[in-house]
């Protein structure tokens, strides 16, 4: 039935010692989908992302990339299929921003169809998209946190993978670049990329994700469209913070405000 999802998780659990960081997580992201993972601190969002990335193996259940168990891919093959934006990339040596973005091309260097011209074109396009072209010759460690995030995002785009995973891509960004980044992710998704993003800002998640997974204490508390997941009582109890859900005045999505 239907197409194989670009990325799927079935009944996955993840334990360290006796601590269950994740239990019984099931989700699927089709090509063109943008899935947001939300939940309070310590809910297991980053652990879930590392399972999706193949950094860690689930203790139970399975993670599949285009229908194949993610653990079956060799590192080089995996790098052509999924890219990951970490919360922060610290680089202790003075590479320029363009050097960093160009590193995203590494997985393609084994491909005879790839060329230096193509690398240059993809790098320039990714930097233009992320509004970082003017930073090209700047030294990466000297950039502000927000600029570093956008350069790191350009590196992820330059990797040209069908799946992109992002850990809080908007955390360090000002409001303009938050909106710009989320719009970019939507555009990427519309072009057929499957995207999973851990998001702290519930309203960004509601406005831009087509599916949401709400994690609480390592379990899926709710999943579905933003309207389905944004239940006033569920959000309030999950975050232990009284919240009110209303309709966004201009966008076709819910809006959360703290009571």
């Amino acid at each position: 039935m239907g197409m194989t999802p670009a990325l799927s998780v079935r009944a996955a659990g993840y334990q360290i010692g006796s601590a269950a960081l994740l239990s019984d997580v099931t989700l699927a992201v089709p090509a063109g989908g943008l899935l947001g993972i939300i939940g309070p601190n310590g809910a297991g969002k980053t652990s879930l992302l590392s399972l999706l990335a193949g950094d860690r193996s689930p203790s139970t259940g399975i993670v599949e990339l285009a229908g194949t168990a993610i653990g079956d891919f060799r590192p080089a093959e995996l790098a052509r299929r999924r890219a990951v934006l970490p919360q922060q990339t610290l680089v202790p040596f003075p590479f320029t921003a363009r050097d960093i973005v160009r590193m995203g091309r590494h997985p393609h260097h084994a491909d005879p169809a790839n060329s230096r011209q193509r690398d240059d074109a993809v790098v320039a396009e990714a930097m233009a998209e992320t509004d970082t072209l003017h930073l090209s010759n700047r030294v990466y460690p000297s950039l502000s946190a927000g600029e570093q995030t956008r350069v790191a995002l350009a590196r992820v785009f330059a990797q040209e993978t069908p799946v992109i995973l992002l850990d809080e891509p908007t955390a360090t960004l000002d409001i303009h670049h938050q909106e710009q980044t989320m719009r970019l992710l939507r555009t990427r998704a519309a072009a057929g990329t499957a995207i999973v993003a851990v998001l702290h800002d519930l309203n960004l998640a509601a406005a831009y994700a087509d599916q949401l997974v709400l994690l609480a204490s390592g379990r899926v508390a709710a999943q579905g469209t933003p309207r389905e997941v944004f239940d006033q009582q569920l959000l309030s109890s999950t975050y232990q913070q009284s919240m009110r859900v209303m309709d966004h005045p201009h966008r076709d999505c819910p809006l959360v405000v703290v009571e």
Partner: protein
């Protein structure tokens, strides 16, 4: 049109002319100066004479013997030892993602000295002349693995852990070698203190050959890891996401580095800070890209040790200063400055 980095590229053009120019001057000075001086024109004439070219400049058989048989082997060894330290220093800084890594500071040289010392103490047996470098390699590799395991936390290497591990290892190695030199009746080990301080005094062509082999293999293999070292600077997880088999690359690099350090230390003892000074000087010109950094740091390290050895032989002539003392005199303050700057820039991590 993406445009190329103008600044870094323009600087990079000067790199090899500077290195080769300084290197040639250091070669001629090293071969010429000493207890018995030979003019630079005669040094060049002797070298060309052995290549079968007569430049028409007169030189005596004694000058020929001093330059060709006495000083040249020592010069070749000094260059290779410096190249090993410079190249492996650059690789260690990349692997540990830490600008303060250096074969001596993190204890690899101490481990190598102990390994080579133990082999000399119990006798190399079937290993023969390769005993020293093999012992040095084993000692350096053991320390490298230990430091890598002990000093890292979540893919980062804390400066304090790295340096303290090196201090502890070096102290143990120094004490053990001191003990060996007292307890075991081996001529080489009786001069162990001198050797431990780093010196080419005791080196001969015969003892140098295995070292040259170890260092040559190490330096030939290092550049293969240049691109992956660049990616590792993003972080281990990030490198893995870009397709680097991090565990395998790390293991291979530690082996290749231990080969170079083990070979160098077996021949010349502990010459510190070259692995720190050379890559940092080179990085100012090339930037951090290991494709340029690794070969240039190796050549830079070689030239640096040539200059240091020239000073060691001539400053207090006829007494010879251990070359390791000289590199420490220059390198120690540089390390302190670097430590200060790194902590200011990156906090406790660096």
């Amino acid at each position: 049109m993406t445009g190329e980095r103008p600044a870094a590229q323009r600087r990079r053009r000067w790199l090899w002319p500077i290195l080769i120019g300084t290197g040639l001057a250091a070669v001629i000075a090293n071969l010429g100066f000493g207890a018995f001086d030979v003019g630079p024109d005669r040094v060049v004439a002797i070298l060309f004479d052995h290549a079968g070219v007569d430049l028409g400049i007169e030189f005596t058989p004694r000058e020929d013997a001093v330059v060709w048989s006495l000083r040249l082997p020592r010069l070749v060894l000094a260059f290779f030892v410096g190249a090993a330290l410079g190249g492996t220093g650059a690789a260690l800084q990349g692997l540990f993602r830490n600008p303060l890594a250096d074969p001596q500071i993190i204890g690899l040289s101490g481990g190598a000295a102990l390994g080579a010392g133990v082999v000399l103490a119990i006798g190399p047996g079937v290993l023969g002349r390769f005993g020293g470098p093999i012992g040095g390699f084993a000692g350096a590799l053991g320390v490298a693995l230990a430091v890598y395991t002990l000093a890292r936390y979540e893919g980062r290497t804390e400066v304090v852990n790295l340096v303290l591990t090196g201090v502890a290892v070096s102290a143990v190695a120094g004490a053990a070698i001191g003990y060996l030199s007292v307890a075991v009746d081996t001529p080489r080990l009786q001069t162990a203190l001198f050797w431990f301080l780093g010196s080419f005094t005791l080196s001969t062509w015969e003892s140098a050959r295995p070292t040259l082999l170890f260092v040559a293999v190490s330096l030939a293999l290092l550049p293969r890891y240049a691109t992956r070292l660049n990616l590792l600077l993003l972080g281990e997880a990030e490198a893995r996401h870009l397709g680097v088999n991090v565990e395998r690359v790390r293991t291979m690099l530690l082996v290749v580095i231990a080969l170079g350090v083990g070979g160098a230390v077996a021949a010349a003892g502990i010459i510190g800070f070259v692995g720190l000074l050379a890559p940092h000087a080179v990085r100012l010109v090339t930037g951090p890209d290991h494709r340029y950094l690794l070969p240039a740091s190796a050549v830079g390290g070689g030239v640096l040790v040539l200059i240091a050895d020239l000073a060691a032989r001539t400053l207090a002539s006829p007494v010879e200063i251990p070359v390791g003392l000289l590199t420490a005199l220059v390198g120690g303050p540089f390390f302190l400055w670097l430590l200060h700057r790194t902590r200011a820039e990156y906090g406790a991590w660096g």
